[in-house]
Point group: C2
Chain length 95, copies 2
């Protein structure tokens, strides 16, 4: 239902974060609590696609940074979503 990659990119747009920090951030800004499996699997996919990259590990933490491609992808996703939101809420009101 919810695309975790979108949530992760939106979270990393704020700045570098490690997995668990993304988890709590997403929970606060989106109200969605991702499962651990969902989160880390999505992170791996994002990394494979070059949308985020791993930074040097800090102790137990594995921080990630959004790449320019990731930023562009987030931008595209939001742009694609915008008309659906607009039309959807407009039509809901009309009836």
């Amino acid at each position: 239902m919810n695309d975790p990659t979108l949530l992760i990119l939106a979270s990393l747009a704020e700045g570098d974060k490690h997995g668990y920090a993304i988890l709590t951030d997403v929970k606060t800004f989106a109200g969605v609590e991702l499962g651990a499996g969902t989160l880390y699997a999505a992170i791996e996919r994002l990394e494979n696609r070059g949308f985020i990259k791993a930074l040097p590990a800090e102790e137990r933490r594995r921080p990630y940074r959004m790449t320019p491609q990731g930023r562009q992808h987030l931008k595209d996703q939001l742009a694609a979503l915008a008309p659906v939101m607009r039309v959807g809420s407009l039509r809901l009101k009309q009836s």
Copy 2:
């Protein structure tokens, strides 16, 4: 990536439509061209969940109507998406 059920509900929020009409409507308002398989599979799922219901067939056409539950679900989906959009675009601008 794209949730076809969201697109279908947004389309049916305008009024009753049959499958092919949804297809063209979604293409115009969202710029997304759904495959036939994707569309009808998603329609079937929406019907099973009680979010839409089939109307009496007109010739070859099988029109569908959104139920109150479907309307509520669309509302919930859009409400869940809104903060993600808001935070996402805000954070994109900030950097």
